[in-house]
């Protein structure tokens, strides 16, 4: 049962990701991205991380992507022109080599750790026992308190910066 669900979510996520890149209309691209975010949330639920799953939907699908759509609509972006693709043999070969290198690097760097990496302190059973929200809260406010606070400060600075840039004339 879980395998079937995993397969569905994984396929939808991958398909929507590809669709996002291939769509010509920016609105459809954004919608594909939202679909991919949903499928990803489904994967989180399968991993027993309900909190992450719903925060994911709430923050990304519910807030950030709405603003994306908002900007796309305000800018009135037209679908991309469908210009005939001229393949440049040099470009294609360089691209292929780079993609191959990236793949090899991923396989070498990440591959061995998938099976052999150490188990973290918070595996499926522990999280079940402590509670989803509690587990995240504990890690966030005990082990990673300083990075968490630093991130907040950086985000605040970015917000203030954006406002200063947008409001050229400050009264």
């Amino acid at each position: 049962m879980e395998w079937v669900l995993f397969l569905i979510f994984a396929l939808v996520a991958a398909g929507a990701g590809v669709g996002m890149v291939l769509q010509r209309s920016p609105i459809y691209s954004a919608l594909c991205l939202i679909l991919a975010l949903f499928a990803q949330a489904g994967l989180y639920v399968l991993l027993g991380a309900e909190l992450i799953a719903f925060v994911h939907i709430f923050v990304y699908a519910g807030a950030i992507m709405v603003l994306f759509l908002f900007v796309i609509m305000l800018l009135d972006l037209r679908p991309e022109d469908r210009s005939p693709v001229r393949s440049n043999p040099v470009g294609v070969s360089v691209g292929l080599i780079l993609a191959g290198l990236l793949l090899a690097e991923l396989a070498l760097g990440v591959g061995p750790h998938i099976a052999l990496g150490p188990r973290g302190a918070y595996d499926f059973e522990t999280v079940r026992a402590v509670g989803n929200t509690q587990a995240v809260g504990r890690i966030l406010f005990r082990e990673y308190l300083i990075p968490f606070e630093l991130t907040s400060v950086i985000l605040l600075a970015a917000m203030v910066g954006a406002m200063v840039l947008a409001k050229r004339k400050l009264e």
């Binding site: 719903f54 759509l69 609509m73 305000l74």
Partner: protein, 324 residues
């Protein structure tokens, strides 16, 4: 198998109840507003106009279904569906009685917020897909409004979560059991009064109800995002709005009024009674207050409600620290 059967039965019961309530909420709204304005309201179809919602439903189904020539067909068709699904699946985690809840998710409150935050897509996409300037402006307005008020809505309930120590709606209702000094019910509305008011105001704004119904301000925007919609597609937006209203009332009841708890009467009746009070309040508001101006709406959300919600949060945290 029994579990599956019981769940399906519960879902069918809740959906049937909600859809029936949606239909009769329109009747209630027309009757109450008519009474307030010293009119009769619907009175021709059935006794007291009680069959009016059914007549309206049949009428809407047989109306011509128009898709504007330059509309984006797929998005135009998808928007009403996207708008009604979140409105209905909210009821999956709401406890109607001691053991009457479809499913008790351990992050139930977050689930409700995640799901309701998606309702805005229906409106934005309807506005864009219609390819009409009124619909587009209505959709943009509404998305800005909903994103702004979602912040204070989310912050207003954190106090409740802190007091219950859980995000599960069943636990939140359980935490409101008992009474203070034997008479005052231990409902969150008393210690969290500020949070309650913020929740109520922000959810009115989220619902696009008067006095926050700017997305469909008819004097400026014709009918806002659903200008180009007709027949059942229009009806779906309408149903979504009313289902959202019931959902928000149910959430207010669960979070602040102790859910299904109350003396003498059976729990489900208590729950429905409290929900009805909120629904009546929303209708009453619509008949009483004039619409906000757009800049007032934005200013109020960001400069009044959001700071107040933060103050409420800090006060709750301080009080809880002192008590423990």
């Amino acid at each position: 198998m029994d579990f599956l059967f019981a769940t399906i039965l519960k879902i069918a019961l809740v959906m049937g109840l909600v859809l029936l309530a949606v239909a009769y909420l329109t009747w209630l709204e027309r009757k109450v507003i008519a009474d307030i304005q010293v009119r009769y309201g619907p009175s021709r179809v059935g006794r007291f106009g009680l069959l009016q919602p059914i007549a309206d439903g049949i009428k809407l189904m047989f109306k011509e279904d128009i898709v504007p020539a330059n509309a984006d067909r797929l998005i135009f068709l998808l928007a009403p569906v996207i708008s009604i699904i979140p409105a209905l699946i909210v009821f999956a985690v709401i406890p109607f009685g001691p053991s009457f809840v479809i499913t008790d998710v351990n992050v139930g409150l977050l689930y409700v917020f995640a799901v309701t935050s998606l309702g805005v897509y229906g409106i934005v996409l309807a506005g864009w897909g219609s390819n009409s300037k009124y619909a587009l402006l209505g959709g943009l307005r509404s998305s800005a409004q909903m994103v702004s008020y979602e912040l204070s809505l989310g912050l207003s309930v954190i106090g409740v979560v802190m007091m219950a120590g859980s995000l599960s709606l069943v636990d939140i209702v359980e935490a409101q059991k008992g009474s203070w000094y034997g008479i005052l019910p231990r409902w969150n509305v008393i210690p969290q009064f500020l949070g309650f008011v913020i929740f109520l105001v922000s959810s009115t704004a989220e619902l696009n109800r008067a006095p926050f119904d700017l997305p469909e301000a008819e004097t400026e925007l014709v009918a806002g995002f659903h200008t180009e919609y007709s027949s059942m597609k229009f009806a779906m937006f309408f149903m979504a709005e009313y289902a959202n209203m019931i959902g928000a009332s149910a959430m207010a009841t669960t979070l602040f009024l102790g859910g299904w708890q109350g003396p003498l009467l059976p729990p489900v009746i208590w729950f429905l009674l409290k929900v009805f009070c909120f629904l009546f309040l929303f209708v009453w508001l619509r008949a009483t207050v004039p619409r906000f101006r757009y800049d007032q709406l934005m200013g109020f959300g960001w400069k009044v409600l959001l700071p107040l919600a933060l103050v409420n949060l800090m006060l709750t945290a301080a009080a809880l620290l002192i008590v423990s």
